[in-house]
Symmetry: C2
Subunit: 214 residues, 2 copies
């Protein structure tokens, strides 16, 4: 398997965790999103029509969209599972994943911040306010949906919800967003941080991350 | 089952189609999103922590996020299926659904347009440009991913990708976005329009739609 990734992408981070959890070896291919114009057609657009990361290539087929990749990996390599057995609990895990992946993360994406800068002459403070606004709404909803006992988002077992929450908290910290109001999410984050699959997926440990000295 | 819906919501529209396709009767509960401040806590926030529609209530449990609901309905009521059997084709259907549901639709949502208006003093033309920009990127990607032969997005059988594309095209027309460049998507739309499940889910046929005379 081959993973097209960018070290700082939250969406690629989710898939790196899943591949590690399931013990699947993969070739890491770096796509430099920060230097790319999201609208331009280049060779990568043949791999991913959106020009976004991640893309997983398996059996010669390229799959985009991180949640589609997580579901695919879980169907092909069910151990350990990323979803509970019970349909209502599976729905809850997917709901929580989508609160982050559909209604929060796309609004803070690089291409969106660039649009705000270009078309609305958004300052750094404007972009920060924008990002914090959606982080606040999204994380508040996620906090209310997450299991009260834990340690993970759905309770005793990891699910794809955790794989979305951990990268989103990493992103929130990077943008200086305070996390005091989200004790359940911080508990999930702390529990996941002890697992090698999560540690190995950290942005700064990826081959395309800048060296510590830079 | 009970569905919290708003006639004009693309996300609720997806779920209405699925319920109709599977022949599942449901109670329609209207949530007036246009009159609600998306951030305020009210009784509906106890049903859906994001304050968004749709929410499906089944067996006393409330599920938010349209794609989580579609997957749930498909697991509990597998006939007719909303996903192919083959894992790679399932992944393609989910990828296409997410191109619309995660990377396109949330950017054109009412709460986002309201933020642009409030914080960036966006005019009607600014909001239209914003909406059209993301429609262009999202629909172009969807067009490239959709099956060349059809009639549906994945080929001969309906999938949840079609349930996302049809409401998004309805939304695009409403905002005056030209669809000439997307022949595959228009073909999907035309094929679905002949099915009673899609016709019955149309926004203007919902109980909370304004009367034709208004």
């Amino acid at each position: 398997m081959r993973l097209y990734s960018y070290w700082r992408s939250s969406a690629a981070y989710r898939v790196r965790i899943a591949l590690n959890l399931k013990g699947l070896p993969f070739e890491y291919v770096a796509v430099d999103l920060a230097r790319r114009d999201g609208t331009k057609h280049d060779a990568y657009a043949d791999v991913n029509p959106q020009g976004l990361v991640p893309t997983l290539v398996d059996d010669g087929t390229a799959i985009g969209q991180s949640l589609a990749i997580l579901e695919y990996l879980d169907e092909r390599h069910p151990d350990p599972p990323l979803l509970p057995d019970d349909p209502l609990r599976r729905a809850r895990a997917r709901q929580l994943a989508l609160v982050v992946a559909a209604d929060l993360h796309p609004l803070g994406n690089l291409r969106v911040l660039r649009y705000l800068e270009r078309e609305f002459v958004a300052t750094e403070a404007d972009k920060r306010d924008w990002h914090h606004h959606w982080l606040g709404l999204g994380l508040e909803a996620a906090e209310r949906i997450a299991d009260a006992q834990g340690p993970y988002a759905l309770g005793a077992s990891l699910t794809l919800a955790d794989l979305c929450i951990v990268p989103q908290l990493y992103n929130a910290r990077r943008y200086g967003f305070p996390l005091e109001r989200y004790p359940r999410l911080r508990r999930i984050d702390a529990a996941c941080a002890t697992l090698p699959a999560f540690a190995g997926a950290l942005p700064e440990r990826q081959p395309d991350a800048p060296c510590a000295g830079e």
